[in-house]
Symmetry: none
Subunit: 404 residues, 2 copies
């Protein structure tokens, strides 16, 4: 599997390489405000990031490729040095990781839409009226109890959010080669479990019985009384950052999705911070003994998705105020970037390139500010996210010369 | 076949995506004038393109790759989102498309040089003294009449220009695995028909008989009395823009070559405009119901090939004056670029990167002018042409998020 863009032989796995900190401002990239012409990051007052930029190499990072809007999974895999296209994780697997589920190689995960069916078993609402999290969780717990009686395979079901849940099958001989049972329209019944390969045919009956059992467990419900399966995926496991890059890695993130992706590549996830301040506090307390520290801040993305330019600016300024606490820990390489852009004017993840700052002794600084315009003219140019780890390792003295 | 760089699953083929216009100023990229230091595009007075640039993302496009000078076929395929290296069309096939011939999958096309042979059948002029188009056409029509008598395969022959013609074989069991019969030198006879694979051996006799029949038809000519076959190619068909990207596409181009490439990827080609003005008029009249409109302007390339800097500047200014008629149609995405550079100082297609402007609601503008210098600092950076379609689709709201 061509899991990384970096020739394996170059990685120096000794204990004496520099320490790398990766600070992700989720969704930091933006679009110009129609009045000022400045993006959120450019409009924000960021004295600490600007000072850091003045001794950094700057650039613009394409998480996946031109025009491609990354989800959080591929966006982060790319930052961690894994080719996000070669390593597509099924959405079911990502959902499971996102709720902190400890996926193991060979597990088959599938996302479930909680849905409403009519008396004839036809879908009337593919999202069951977008139930509250409380309501969704209540029904999923009922299903979990019912599934405990299934003994031909190990099953795990977790509520994710609103109408979304994830179901994991664990056992020998499984397959994920099934079409979705979500018919993508209302007025028709869920699609039957359809195997796409001979191997899948052998376990199709099992999948069918499990989905039927879920239906039975919901039979007395009026709103959430069916499930639609989407994105069957077998989790094949990833080489860890330690195996691949020789990095003992720590992740600190408030939200489960990001802890999930970090765990996927073998990072230690010890604590669950309750705030941005606590995110830094856990880095301060735990970073000793780690070669790579990933700290995740969600707010710029969340405010971008809200479409609130001013709130995204404020979120960026709050993170800026935390930067001195990272620099005080004296990492050899400090990278600040995002996993994608979430322009407030667009109100969603977008395909636009993301500003990136890489501070180390070996920088080629080009500007004393951190923003799209400054980064566009930076020494790192515009590059695909999967190359970020190579740059980090090089600046940390962890890559050998290529060729004699 | 890895025909596009875009993961298929991302393409949203619904009817409600934005409309994309692609205006190609053929050969627009240039080199600095020795006196002014400005390229043709920079020297041109282009108020409309400059205004468009002020609300666009700019960049520099490499049609194929660094140092590669594209022909018109690969240059345009790249702009249309097809990998021009993975999808090499034989020159014979391109010639057939260029003369508006309706190639079908399985057809074998080959370019013919009209040549002069001496009494012993040795080539004395590989281009028959570069005949006038009238003269070339006259002989090709005579050959066509003779070929009508061949009944073991369907044959089409078309004159292209001067000494160039194209011959197409249509029928079951054909092969294109033959070496050229053009010996590339004079004083020797044409090379025999040489099959390169076992499959080709089975139809080598047929190819030989057809070429011999052409020779007989020319026997009473003194100048054009032989043909040299170059670039046998089987046309394998392409997925259309509609199949591949969900785009119902219209092409408007004055010259057959560009209509041919457009037809190759399934664009509708309804009218043959007689002027630049009429090119826009046909777009105005026909664009309704299309998701993608390609308008082609030949003059910058033609004047570049003439080596006439001032005339190329004037050609660009003429197209600039037409831009408001495109913007008046309110496409969601308006792209202006070239399929390659044709610097007047170089006098031919060149490998230099091509300025590109992409206007949409989601632009990151960086300059209020359209030219090499402005585009070099643009937000799109420098990218391979095959990624242009991904950017166009993203800006038109036609791409799903990649991963959860």
């Amino acid at each position: 599997m061509d899991i990384t863009v970096l020739p394996d032989a170059l990685v120096e796995r000794g204990q004496d390489g520099g320490r790398i900190f990766l600070v992700v401002m989720d969704g930091v990239g933006g679009l110009p405000h129609p009045e000022s012409g400045q993006t959120e990051l450019e409009a924000a007052q960021t004295p600490h990031l600007d000072a850091l930029a003045a001794r950094s190499s700057l650039g613009m990072l394409l998480p996946v490729g031109p025009g491609i809007t990354p989800g959080s999974g591929p966006g982060h895999l790319s930052l961690f040095g894994y080719d996000p296209v070669a390593n597509q994780i099924g959405r079911g697997a990502l959902s499971a990781l996102g709720v902190g589920f400890d996926l193991q190689p060979g597990d088959v995960a599938v996302r479930l839409n909680l849905a409403t069916l009519d008396g004839d078993g036809r879908v009337t609402d593919r999202r069951a009226g977008r139930p509250t999290d409380e309501e969704g969780r209540r029904v999923v717990e009922k299903v979990r109890t019912a599934l405990a009686e299934v003994d031909e395979v190990e099953l795990f079901i977790e509520h994710v959010k609103e109408h979304r849940a994830v179901l994991v099958f664990r056992g020998p001989g499984l397959s994920a080669d099934f079409a979705d049972t979500d018919p993508q329209e209302t007025g028709v019944p869920p699609a039957p479990v359809t195997p796409l390969t001979p191997a899948a045919s052998e376990v199709a009956g099992l999948i069918e019985r499990v989905l039927a059992r879920i239906g039975v467990a919901m039979a007395d419900e009026t709103v959430i009384n069916g499930v639609l399966a989407r994105g069957f995926a077998m989790f094949e496991g990833f080489p860890t950052l330690e195996e691949w890059f020789g990095l003992r890695a720590l992740a600190v993130a408030q939200y489960p999705m990001y802890r999930g992706v970090a765990r996927l590549v073998g990072m230690d996830v010890k604590d669950v911070p309750g705030s941005e301040d606590e995110t830094v506090a856990f880095v301060e307390a735990r970073h000793g003994g780690y070669d790579f520290v990933f700290a995740h801040f969600k707010a710029p993305d969340a405010r971008g998705e809200d479409g609130d330019f001013a709130a995204k600016v404020a979120a960026i300024e709050r993170i800026d105020a935390l930067i001195p606490r990272f620099t005080a820990l004296e990492p050899d390489v400090l990278i600040v970037t995002g996993d994608h852009s979430t322009p407030a004017g667009y109100g969603a993840h977008s395909w636009h390139a993301v500003p990136v700052l890489l501070a180390s002794r070996w920088g080629r600084p080009t500007a004393a500010s951190f923003g799209e315009a400054a980064c566009r003219g930076g020494d790192l140019g515009r590059f695909e996210g999967k190359h970020l780890m190579s740059l980090a390792l090089a600046n940390a003295g962890r890559l050998a010369k290529f060729g004699a």
